[in-house]
């Protein structure tokens, strides 16, 4: 048991951290920075613990929680996501008179869920972890509770989310019943022996639908644009990466591990979904005039690219999972960066994120515009940025998998070209248009700057020297 506790320490630290945040808020009310500080401290501690756990994999509680490089990787990724969010959010929330304590706590709870998701080895734990990661998301979406848009987004997110949770859960239960065990690996072995029954097919369908919703794959993506546009910008940043990473972990665990024997069934469906997802995401993003909503649609497109990796993984290419993991990391940094940029532009309450607001920013705030350019180029997939290498990685996996995956790869790159149009259009407004009147007020502050910088560093570093991450990823998969 003692050993188990040791293994569980990162998880526990996060949860305790969440409570500590609340306590600190009670002690010193109306002090926006205290909770953030506490939260960051907790994150730091957790990171330390994870790194310390590092490569050695240990299991706790009779194997329902397996720590190891995979968890460490996800944990650290999640920590950086939460950290950047916590750095950029306060400025935004302060001017709008929203507290930071609940934000910090909720984010930490969600992080705990994500870690659990990564460590889970059975359906039940997996599901609980998922919910622990998702439910705080509903709260965050509605965090600007006096803002009709924020609450509208939250309602849509919550209703559809719980609907899909029910679907996913039903699928999990039926799968559980069919396999007669909750353990993921156990399911794989049973399925490998038996042949697919109608019940199993239905279970698979339910699970596919449920998880496709969580990653916002077409045609289960509808919640994304509204929830993202409605939420407060920094939180949108978090929502667009955090839950997405978690959802893909779910996909890996359910499909690549548990349902691997049924790959022949689900790969065709995934291929269709992926193609539809990236295409719709890009085409609609093309028509958006609101940058925030445009990024929402673009995040749908990125889901599509990530699914390419899943397909490759299903076809037995370990590089597929590696690609997905690398992509999530790259995506986390560049997309958070983009939203951090938007956050900075919304220094005033009521500031919009229309393209026209960005006009001529390059002259007034060259540094800010430069950072934005880095993130946009990375999202476009122009070397030497993280985004480029991420795309390359999943495409490489797809090419290795061959067959339909290769076609998917071609569709993916053509989509990337379409995507280039709307990402570059932002750059057009930044540098090639005359400044907008009245000029937007850019938020300042060390934390915000730190957040932006962190994101930028990640974006560039993963592009120039991807090797460490690749090795981490590969190691994470070596189980």
């Amino acid at each position: 048991m003692n050993n188990d506790l040791l293994t569980l320490t990162p998880l526990i630290t996060v949860i305790v951290g969440a409570m500590a945040v609340l306590v600190s808020d009670m002690i010193t009310p109306n002090r926006n920075h205290a909770p953030v500080a506490v939260a960051l401290a907790a994150l730091g501690a957790t990171a330390a613990l994870l790194i310390n756990q590092g490569g050695s994999s240990a299991s706790a509680l009779g194997g329902s929680y397996v720590a190891g490089p995979f968890v460490a990787f996800l944990g650290l990724l999640g920590i950086s996501i939460v950290a950047i969010t916590l750095l950029i959010a306060p400025a935004y929330l302060a001017v709008r008179k929203y507290p930071t304590a609940e934000l910090a706590a909720t984010l930490l709870f969600a992080l705990a869920g994500a870690i659990l998701l990564g460590a889970a080895t059975d359906l039940v734990t997996l599901f609980v972890g998922l919910e622990l990661m998702v439910i705080p998301g509903y709260v965050l979406a509605g965090y600007a509770k006096r803002d009709p848009l924020s609450t509208e987004g939250a309602v849509k997110y919550f209703l559809l989310g719980s609907f899909s949770s029910a679907i996913l859960l039903f699928g999990i239960v039926v799968l559980w019943g069919v396999a007669g065990t909750a353990s993921l690996s156990g399911i794989a072995t049973t399925l490998a022996s038996g042949n697919a029954s109608a019940g199993l097919a239905v279970a698979l369908a339910l699970i596919t639908t449920g998880s496709a919703f969580k990653i916002a794959a077409v045609p289960f993506h509808y919640w994304t644009p509204d929830a993202y546009q409605g939420s407060p910008t920094p939180i949108t940043g978090y929502l667009s990466v955090g839950p997405k990473v978690g959802a893909f972990v779910l996909l890996i665990k359910l499909f690549v591990i548990a349902l691997a024997p049924l790959a022949a069934l689900w790969i065709p469906v995934m291929v269709v979904l992926a193609a539809a997802t990236m295409t719709l995401g890009n085409l609609v993003a093309l028509t958006q005039s609101n940058v925030k909503r445009m990024l929402a649609y673009s995040s749908i497109a990125h889901t599509g690219y990530l699914m390419v990796g899943i397909v490759a993984a299903g076809a037995g290419q370990a590089a597929g999972i590696a690609g997905v993991l690398f992509y999530t990391a790259a995506y986390a940094f560049m997309n958070l960066g983009a939203f951090a940029f938007l956050t900075a532009l919304q220094g005033r309450p009521g500031a919009t994120t229309q393209l026209s607001d960005l006009a001529g920013l390059g002259r007034k705030h060259p540094r800010m515009a430069l950072l934005a350019t880095i993130f946009l180029l990375s999202l476009t997939g122009i070397p030497p940025t993280a985004g480029f290498f991420a795309k390359t990685y999943v495409i490489l996996a797809a090419v290795q998998a061959g067959g339909p995956a290769t076609i998917l790869a071609v569709i993916a790159v053509l989509n990337a070209a379409i995507a280039a149009f709307y990402y570059l259009r932002v750059i057009v407004y930044l540098f090639m248009r005359d400044p907008a009147e009245p000029a937007i007020q850019v938020a300042e502050g060390p934390m915000l700057r730190a957040g932006l910088l962190l994101a930028a560093v990640g974006t560039v570093a993963l592009g120039l020297a991807p090797t460490p991450i690749i090795e981490a990823v590969v190691q994470a998969l070596a189980k």
Partner: protein, 186 residues
């Protein structure tokens, strides 16, 4: 004199009758929940549905779950729902207010799902045991064994989950202070 364990002429066991009765109530009440125009009545029918389900849980030998069902749902959830109804002050609503314009396709989707589940679950061989009567009642011991064995972590986390939900719910539901102004722009 003891009852015959098979009802004459029908050929069903008493448990079968009970099951049919309860499931009949469940389905009927559920229909009432989704079709009823008075939301308060819907709430009450939901409670009825859940109650009947609790009965079926007992038949499945999960008395403890039935208990939890009664406590948590019929207690807490229903109360919350009624509370919400008060809050939203909605009384009997005309059909156009109660139902979506897409009711027809919705019905179609639901029917398709029902057929799908019915056929799939009916036709699948689950490798399940068959009981002469209802499944034997499993005492609390194996449940506890499961909860504190393989599902311990999940169980603990569930508590954290509820904590998180409560915190979030409190934050969202709290009245905004006077000095805080709304905004409409993203």
């Amino acid at each position: 004199m003891p009852l015959p364990d098979v009802i004459p002429f029908i050929g069903l066991g008493w448990s079968d009758v009970l099951f049919l009765l309860l499931s009949g109530v469940v389905l009927a009440a559920a229909f009432a929940v989704v079709f009823g125009r008075d939301i308060i009545k819907s709430g009450l029918f939901l409670i009825l549905t859940l109650g009947a389900l609790a009965g079926i849980y007992v038949m499945l030998g999960a008395a403890i779950v039935a208990g939890a069902q009664v406590l948590v749902y019929i207690g807490a959830i229903s109360v919350l729902i009624l509370f919400a109804i008060m809050l939203t002050q909605t009384k009997v609503a005309p059909v156009k207010l109660a139902f979506q314009t897409q009711v027809a396709p919705a019905a179609l989707a639901a029917v398709l799902l029902a057929v799908l589940f019915g056929l799939a679950f009916g036709s699948t061989n689950w490798g399940s045991t068959v009981f002469t009567d209802t499944p034997a009642a499993t005492g609390t011991a194996p449940v506890a064994a499961a909860l504190f064995g393989p599902y311990l972590l999940a169980f603990e986390i569930a508590s954290v989950l509820i904590l998180a939900a409560v915190i979030g719910g409190l934050y969202l539901a709290m009245e905004p202070k006077a000095d805080e102004v709304g905004e409409e722009a993203q």
